[in-house]
Symmetry: C2
Amino acid sequence: MKEADFLQELKELDLLKQAMSILEWDAQTGMPDAAQDYRSEVDGYLSGLYFDKATGPKIAEALDYFAEHPEELSEVGQAAYRLVKKEYELNQAVPKDVMTVYSQAVSKAHGAWSKARQANDFSLFRDALADNIRLTKDLIRYQKKEQANAYDVLLDQYEPSLTTAELDQVFHRLREGIMAIRATLAEKGQAPAKDFLARKMPKSGQQKFITKVAEELGYDFDRGRLDDTIHPFATGINHNDVRITTRWREKDFMTAIFGVIHEAGHGIYEQNIAEKYEYTPVHEGASMGIHESQSLFNELIIGGSRQFWEKQYPFFKECAAGVFDDLPFIDFYRGMKHSQSSLIRIEADSLTYPLHIIIRYEIEKELFNGTLTVDELPAVWKQKYQEYLGITPPDDLTGILQDVHWSGGMFGYFPSYALGYMYAAQLYHKMQETIDVAAVLATDDYSPIRKWLTEKVHRFGASKTPSEIILDATGETLNPQYLLDYLQELYFEVYQVQVIEHV
Amino acid sequence: MKEADFLQELKELDLLKQAMSILEWDAQTGMPDAAQDYRSEVDGYLSGLYFDKATGPKIAEALDYFAEHPEELSEVGQAAYRLVKKEYELNQAVPKDVMTVYSQAVSKAHGAWSKARQANDFSLFRDALADNIRLTKDLIRYQKKEQANAYDVLLDQYEPSLTTAELDQVFHRLREGIMAIRATLAEKGQAPAKDFLARKMPKSGQQKFITKVAEELGYDFDRGRLDDTIHPFATGINHNDVRITTRWREKDFMTAIFGVIHEAGHGIYEQNIAEKYEYTPVHEGASMGIHESQSLFNELIIGGSRQFWEKQYPFFKECAAGVFDDLPFIDFYRGMKHSQSSLIRIEADSLTYPLHIIIRYEIEKELFNGTLTVDELPAVWKQKYQEYLGITPPDDLTGILQDVHWSGGMFGYFPSYALGYMYAAQLYHKMQETIDVAAVLATDDYSPIRKWLTEKVHRFGASKTPSEIILDATGETLNPQYLLDYLQELYFEVYQVQVIEHV
C-alpha cells in the first residue's frame, strides 16, 4: 500500500463528509420543514456509505500496513493515521447490532424529549433517557480500554485524554473561585443598570454592525457566509467554505452580537487550519474544548474588553440609528457585563456560565460512575441549582429539559464548554507576554491577536492533542487560575469593587 | 429478483441525486466563490458513485429479470423500468474512455466560453466548440439506434421521440406565422409606451408582490422556497422540497416578476407529481418541453392575461409604494406586452422569442446533419438574425456567445423552449372548453387552472412520454396553430390592430 492510496481513501471519506455538512447546514438554515422525512433518508444513506467506507477493507489494510511501515508516511499522513486509527477502533469495538439498537434509541429519545418539552413534563422523557443511559453504558463496556472508569470513556470522545480525576480537581477550584467572586460582588459590588439592553435595534442595524466586527476580528466572508437559524452554529465544510449562523432578537441585541462574535471564533479557527491537512480528518479542530476556546476567546476576552467596546461604540450607535445616543459608553459596557443567576445555561453570563456546566458534569459523573438514577435526577437538578446559583427552576422546561444533549446521547460533552473558558483565559494570559492586547483592541487592526492564535492553535488542526496544544502554546497544562483571575479582575471593575491592598 | 429490490436500488440512486441537487442549489445560491474547486471534487465524487451504481450489476440484473417477467412489476415499477432501461442503454452504449474524453472537453469548453465572453471574442471559443461538436458526433455514433439522422439522436435526449422531420414542419409554420403577425403589427399596430418599465421598484416591494402571486398561482411555500441567484432556475429535490430562484433588478421589475411566475410554473409541476413515484426517476417532468410548457403557461398565458393583471394591479401598485399610481391600468398592461426585435434570447418578448429558438435550431441541425462548420457560424448567426428579426448583432457577446448551452455540449436542447410555448397554448385552448380561464383569472381563486394542469399533466410525472401527455390532454398531437392564434389575438389587442371582418 502506498501513502497516496491511503490519502485517496481519506479524501473520498472527506468528500462524503463535505456533502453531509452542506445537507446539515441546509437543514438548519433553509430546508422546508415538510421535507424532514425525505431528508432523513438522504442523511441515513450517506452516513451508511460513510460508515461502510470508514470501517471497510481499504482502511483496515492501510492501518495494518502503516503500523509496520510508519516511516513511509509523511507528517500529514502520520497525523491522519493516528486519528483514523482511533475512529476505526472505536467503530470496530462495538458490534453492529449493538450500535443499531443504540442509534434507534437515540433517535427515539430526541422525539420523546421534544414531546416532553412541549408538555413541560420530564416524566415523558424519563424512559427514553433511561434507555439512552443504559445503552451508553453498554457501549462503554465495548469501548473501554485503559480508562479508569466509565465516564472517562465518554470524556475521551470529546476531549482526548481528559479524565474525571483531573476534572474533579479543576472544577472544584473553579466552583469555589467563582462562588467567592460572586459573594464579593453581592457584598461589595454595585450592580450596573441594564434596562437599555431591551431597547429595540432592528435586525438590519445589528447585521451591519456585527458583519463589520466579525470581518475585523478576522472572519473571512470571501470563504464563508452568515445565515439565519434557530440554533446558531459554525460549520467548516472545507478550507474555503466555513459558514456561521445566528438568530436575531430586535429587543435583545446581545443575542446576535455576542452570538456572531462567538461563532466567528469557531469560523476563524476552521479558516486558518493549515490547508495541507485538507481532505483528511486532521483538517478539523483538535477537540470540542479547543474549539470552544476559540469561540470563547472572541466572546469572553475580546467581547469582554472595555477597550474593544470603547472603540466600537460610535459605530454601534450609528448602526442603532440613534437608539443609544443618550447612553454614556461606560454604562453601556457595564450593563452588558452584568452578572446574575439564571436558570437557562445558554442565556447565562460569563461569570455564572461555568457553574451551569459543573452542575451537569457532577450529575453525569454520578450517572455513569456512581449510583444516581434517572428518577432521582429532577430533585438533584433542583438541589444543585439552589446550592450553586441560589435559585430553583419552577418547572422542567427551565430545568432538566432545557438541553438537547442527553436526548442525543451526548454524555461527556458539557465539560468542553467550561474547558473552552479556561483554555481561552490561559491563552490570553500567555498572549499578553508578547502582545498588549488591550492596546491592540483600542486600534483598527486586531490582526496581531488572530495571528497569534493561528500560530499557536489554529494551524495545527487536529494534528496535536488538546493538551499538547495548551502545553505548547502556554508552557503549562490546564490551569483554572487564569480564568478565575480574569473573571475577578473583570467583574470587580464592572461592579466597582474596591480592592483594598494590604500593605 | 423482487420488485422491492429493484425499487430499493432506484431509491438509493434517487437519494444520491437529492444530495447532488442540494449541492447544486447551494452552489448557485450561496456557496462562497472561493469554494468552487473543493466543491467540484465533491460533485465529481458523488457523480461517480451515481454513475457506477446506475450502470452497476444490480440494475443490469433487474433489467434482465423484468424483461422476462414484466407482469411482476407494479404500475410504478413498469414506468420506472422504461426510464431506467433507456438511461442504462444510453450509458452502456458509449465506452467509458470515450465518455471521459467528452466530459473533459465539455469542462474545458465552459472555461473557454467564459474567457471568450470576457474578451467579447468568439475566436477564443472556436476550437473548444469545434471539439464539443466533433466529440458529440462521436457519441451519436454510439448512441444512434433507429433514428433517421444525427440530430434526431440529440433531440430524443431532451424530448423523447421528437424528430427533425416533425420540427422542420412545425417550425416552418411557426416562423411564417409569427413573421406575418409582426408584419401586421408593424403596418397597422399602435406600439404601446413602455418608459414606465424602468421606474424604480425596490426589491422588497417586488418580493412582497411576487411572493403572494406565486402562492396564489399554486406554488406551495411550505414545500419550497425562493432564493436569489444569478441564473434563475427551479429544482425539485423531492416531493416536499421544490425550490425556485430569481434575480432582482430594481429598475426593471419585469425581470423578477415574470421570472418568478415562470419558475413557479416549474415548481408547481414538481410539487404535484403523484407522490407514489417518489424515489424513482418517474418523479420528474416528462421532458424539457413539457416542463417548459408549465413554466410558460404561467408566464405566457397567465402572465399575459389582461384579466389577471387587472385584478392584481391594485396590489402591485401598493407594493410599489406609489411609483405607479399615476399610470392607468391599460397602459401598464399594454406596456408590459410590447414586442420588439432584440438580440438576447432570454430578454426577448413572447412574440419574438420563438424566432430566437428557430435560429438556433436551424444552425444546430446544419451542424449535425449538414455541412455547416464552426468557422461559418458567426456569419450564419448574423445573417439569420437579420433575416428573421431584422437586426444584426454588433459583436459576439450579443450574438453567438450569449448562450451557455453549446459550451456545455447541450445540442438539441433549444427546441424545448419553443415546444413549451406551443404546448402551453395548446393546453390553454383545450382548458377553455371546460374552464372560463379569463373569468377565473379575474377572481381571487386560480385553483381551477392549477387543478386542471395537475389532472392532465403534473401528476403523471415521467410515466408518460411528452407526446402521450399532449395527445391525452388535448386530443391531438403537437399543433403550432394554437400558439399562433393565441399570439395574434393577444398582440392585435395590445397593438390595437383593427381586424376587418369580411362579411
